[in-house]
C-alpha cells in the first residue's frame, strides 16, 4: 500500500489582537480623536489585509510560523520600568563624546529624557511620540505614517499603525543644524510585544545625526517587535541615521523602514542586524528630488538558528538622483539569511546612478544565504549596477597569516573581520564601528 501525503504549507496565523486593544491603548494615553481614529482606521485595514505567506514574493523564503503569537504578542508587563535596569554601557554615546539628547525606553515606556537646551532654542523637537502627540500635533500629525511608511502597505505596517506603543519624534526646522548627535535606546527587559516607531523629519537645508539602538535582556519566552522607521529629509537636508538591532534570541521583528529625500538632500543610513530569532525588514529609500543622494550600509551576522530577511529598495523618482547600497553579511551554524534588493526608476528620470550589492560570507555547511538583486529601470540614460556575491572562509589567507606566526583562531578572525572592513569603512563613527566589531568577534568566536 502506498500512502500518498500531500504537504501543504499552512497559512501563517495572525496575532491575537482585537479592536478593543486599540481602543484601550488609545484611551490609556488619552489620545486626541484624530489619532484614535487613525489607529482604528489602521485596525480596519489590518483586518482586511491577509497575513503574508509563501505566496507573496517578498515572503517566499521566509517562514515565521514558529512564532507563538499568544506568547510573543501579549502586552509587556512591567509596572515600574526604570533606567536602573539598563546596563550602563548601553547609555554611553556611540557617536561623539557629547550628545544633543538621549531618549531611553524600557519595555516600551519612556524612562529617561535628556535634551540639550540649545535644541529647544533652535526650534528642534526631540521627544517621545506620546509627548509629541500632546505638544506638537501641528508638526507630527501631517507626517505620522502619511509620507514614508503607510498603514496600507502590509499587514505589519497596518498593525503598527493601529497599535504602536512608543517611539521617537525628531523634527529639525529648515536651515537648522543640530551639531550634537542624538541617541535613542529601546531596551526590553520582559517578554511580549512592543511596537516602536522612529519618525525623523529634517527640514530644508537642515542637518542632524541620530542613532537608535534596539536591545533586550535575555529571557526565555518569545517577544515581538513590530517597528516602523520614517526618515524625511528636506531639500538640501542632510541626515545620518544609524539603527543597531541586537535583540535577544527569542525576539521576532517585523519592520518597515523608509526614507524620502528631497532635492539635493543627502542620507547616510547605517544598519546593523546582529540579534533576534527572526528579523524581517523592509528598508527603502525614495529619492524624490532632483540630485538627491542616498547611501545605505548594512551589516549582518546570523548564527545558531537566526533568520534574517532584509528587503531593500532604491526608488529613483527624480533625475540626477544617486544611490549606493552595500550590505555585507555572514552566516554560521544553522542560520539563514535572505537579501532581496531592487532599484527602480520611473520613465524620463535621466542621469540616475544606482548601485546595490550584497556580499555574503557562508561560514558553515548548514548555513544558507540567499541574495537576489533586481532592477526595474524605465529610463535609458542611467547607470545602475548590482551585485550579489557568496564566499566561504578560504584556507589560503588563513594559512598566510599562520605562516607569519598567528594561531588559527586569530587568523580566521582576522580574515572574517577583513571581509567586513569594506562595510565598516563606510561608517564614519568610530564607536559604532567598535560596537559592530565586538558583536562580530563574539559571533565568530562563538558563544
Amino acid at each position: 500500500m502506498v500512502a500518498v501525503r500531500q504537504r501543504r504549507a499552512a497559512a501563517p496565523e495572525a496575532p491575537l489582537y482585537t479592536r478593543a486593544d486599540v481602543e484601550a491603548l488609545s484611551a490609556a494615553h488619552d489620545e486626541p480623536t484624530w489619532l484614535r481614529e487613525s489607529r482604528l482606521a489602521a485596525w480596519d485595514l489590518y483586518q482586511r489585509l491577509p497575513m503574508p505567506g509563501k505566496n507573496d514574493e517578498a515572503w517566499r523564503r521566509t517562514d515565521y510560523r514558529h512564532i507563538r503569537w499568544d506568547e510573543a504578542g501579549r502586552q509587556i508587563e512591567n509596572a515600574n520600568p526604570s533606567i536602573e535596569v539598563v546596563p550602563g554601557a548601553y547609555l554611553e554615546p556611540l557617536i561623539g563624546d557629547q550628545q544633543g539628547g538621549v531618549l531611553v525606553f524600557v519595555d516600551g515606556k519612556l524612562v529617561q529624557y535628556e535634551v540639550h537646551p540649545s535644541l529647544a532654542e533652535q526650534g528642534v523637537v526631540f521627544t517621545d511620540l506620546h509627548t509629541a502627540v500632546r505638544e506638537h500635533e501641528a508638526l507630527l500629525r501631517p507626517r505620522l505614517m502619511t509620507k514614508a511608511v503607510l498603514p496600507g502597505e502590509g499587514k505589519f505596517a497596518a498593525l503598527h499603525a493601529a497599535l504602536w506603543t512608543h517611539g521617537v519624534f525628531l523634527y529639525v526646522p529648515d536651515n537648522t543644524v543640530v551639531e550634537l548627535p542624538l541617541h535613542v535606546v529601546m531596551y526590553n527587559t520582559a517578554p511580549g510585544a512592543t511596537l516602536g516607531h522612529s519618525l525623523v523629519a529634517i527640514g530644508d537645508n537642515a542637518q542632524a545625526t541620530i542613532l537608535v539602538d534596539y536591545r533586550s535582556a535575555e529571557f526565555e519566552d518569545q517577544s515581538l517587535f513590530v517597528g516602523a522607521t520614517e526618515l524625511l529629509v528636506g531639500d538640501e537636508g542632510n541626515l545620518r541615521y544609524v539603527g543597531l538591532q541586537d535583540w535577544n534570541r527569542e525576539t521576532y521583528e517585523f519592520s518597515h523602514q523608509r526614507a524620502r529625500i528631497g532635492r539635493d538632500g543627502n542620507l547616510d543610513w547605517i544598519l546593523g542586524n546582529m540579534g533576534g530569532e527572526f528579523i524581517k525588514q523592509f528598508i527603502e529609500v525614495e529619492l524624490d528630488g532632483q540630485g538627491a543622494h542616498g547611501r545605505v550600509s548594512g551589516m549582518f551576522f546570523a548564527d545558531h538558528e537566526q533568520m534574517f530577511d532584509q528587503d531593500t529598495q532604491q526608488d529613483h523618482n527624480a533625475p540626477l538622483t544617486t544611490s549606493d547600497l552595500l550590505f555585507k553579511g555572514a552566516a554560521k551554524d544553522d542560520a539563514r539569511t535572505v537579501w532581496q534588493g531592487m532599484i527602480k526608476s520611473l520613465p524620463k528620470m535621466q542621469k540616475i546612478d544606482g548601485f546595490q550589492a550584497c556580499r555574503n560570507l557562508v561560514l558553515s555547511e548548514d548555513a544558507r544565504m540567499d541574495a537576489i538583486p533586481g532592477l526595474e529601470i524605465e529610463a535609458d540614460d542611467v547607470r545602475c549596477t548590482h551585485a550579489a556575491t557568496f564566499g566561504t572562509l578560504e584556507e589560503q589567507p588563513v594559512f598566510y597569516l599562520m605562516s607569519r606566526g598567528v594561531p588559527r583562531p586569530e587568523a580566521e578572525l582576522a580574515v572574517i573581520n577583513g571581509f567586513f572592513e569594506e562595510l565598516l569603512d563606510r561608517i564614519p563613527f568610530e564607536r559604532v564601528q567598535a560596537r559592530l566589531r565586538e558583536s562580530l568577534e563574539a559571533k565568530i568566536v562563538g558563544r
Binding site: Y400, L401, S403, R404, G405, A414, V415, N417, E422
Partner: protein, 255 residues
C-alpha cells in the same frame, strides 16, 4: 651553534601523486643555499611543505628544525620558531592592511612568549615599520593598504621581504622571489635580502634562473629534478646551469 633546518628523506604527495621522492638537505643559520631546477621538479612543493601548508601530505621522511620535529608543528608554531617563507604568489587578504597583518604577527610572538603581553605599542610599531620600509625603499602609505590587494608583482615581493625583515627569521625560504620581476624590482628585492644576510640568517633561495644569484651570492647550490636533489655544488653549479640549461641534468639522471 646556530639553528639548522634538516630535511631527511622527505616524500610528499599532492592529490595522491608523489611530488617529492626522498629529499635530503641541510640549511644552517648563516648559510645561503640556492635550490634550482626546472619547472615541475618539486621546488615550490618543498617550500610549502616546510612551512606547513595543509594542502600537502607528507608520506615519509623527517624535517628537523632547531632540534624540533617540524612535522609535528602547525604553520604558526613553525613561524614563531624562526622559519619564514616568502611566497611565490602571496594571496591578497581584503580588509587586512599590511600594517595590521604585521602587528598580528608580532603580537602573536609576544603573546606566545608571555601570555600576559599586551602586544607592541603603537609608537614602537610605527617606528619599526618606518625603519624597515625605508630600508626597502617603500612608501610609508604602503602599510595602510590591504595586503596584496592590487599590488604589482614587485610590490608583492617587496612586501614579502618587508615581512621577513620585521620577523627576523633564523631560516628563510624564498620561493621564486625573482619571478615576474623586472630588473629594477629584482635589484631592490635582492638588496633587501642581502641587507638581512649575516650569521643569524640561513636562506634557501628557490629559483629557476641564475640572475637573482648575481645579487644574493649562494654558498651552496642544489639542483632538484623529479622530486629529488640530484646535484650539489658551489656557485659554479648555478653558472653552469645558466649556460648549459638543465638538459645535462636530465641526461645524467635518466642515463
Amino acid at each position: 651553534m646556530g639553528a639548522a633546518l634538516e630535511i631527511r628523506n622527505l616524500h610528499v604527495n599532492v592529490e595522491d601523486k608523489p611530488i617529492l621522492r626522498g629529499v635530503n638537505l641541510i640549511v644552517r643559520q648563516g648559510e645561503v643555499h640556492a635550490l634550482m631546477g626546472p619547472n615541475g621538479s618539486g621546488k615550490s612543493t618543498l617550500a610549502n611543505v616546510l612551512m606547513g601548508n595543509p594542502a600537502y601530505e607528507v608520506t615519509a621522511g623527517q624535517i628537523i628544525f632547531d632540534g624540533k620535529d617540524l612535522l609535528e608543528m602547525e604553520a604558526d608554531e613553525r613561524s614563531r620558531a624562526g622559519l619564514f617563507l616568502a611566497f611565490q604568489y602571496p594571496v591578497s587578504i581584503p580588509g587586512v592592511t599590511l600594517a595590521n597583518f604585521l602587528r598580528l604577527a608580532i603580537n602573536a610572538r609576544l603573546k606566545a612568549a608571555n601570555p600576559e603581553s599586551k602586544g607592541i605599542s603603537v609608537g614602537d610599531f610605527r617606528k619599526m615599520m618606518r625603519e624597515k620600509m625605508d630600508g626597502l625603499h617603500m612608501e610609508h602609505n604602503f602599510a595602510g593598504r590591504y595586503l596584496n590587494e592590487g599590488f604589482s608583482g614587485g610590490e608583492k615581493k617587496r612586501a614579502e621581504i618587508l615581512q621577513m625583515a620585521v620577523l627576523e627569521p633564523k631560516i628563510a625560504i624564498l620561493d621564486e622571489t625573482d619571478s615576474g620581476l623586472d630588473i629594477d624590482a629584482l635589484r631592490v628585492v635582492s638588496e633587501g635580502v642581502v641587507k638581512l644576510r649575516g650569521p643569524n640568517l640561513g636562506a634557501l633561495v628557490i629559483t629557476h634562473y641564475q640572475r637573482i644569484l648575481n645579487y644574493i651570492k649562494p654558498d651552496f647550490v642544489h639542483v632538484m629534478y623529479q622530486g629529488q636533489i640530484v646535484e650539489n655544488g658551489g656557485p659554479e653549479l648555478a653558472l653552469r646551469l645558466e649556460e648549459a640549461g638543465y638538459d645535462w641534468i636530465r641526461e645524467k639522471v635518466e642515463g
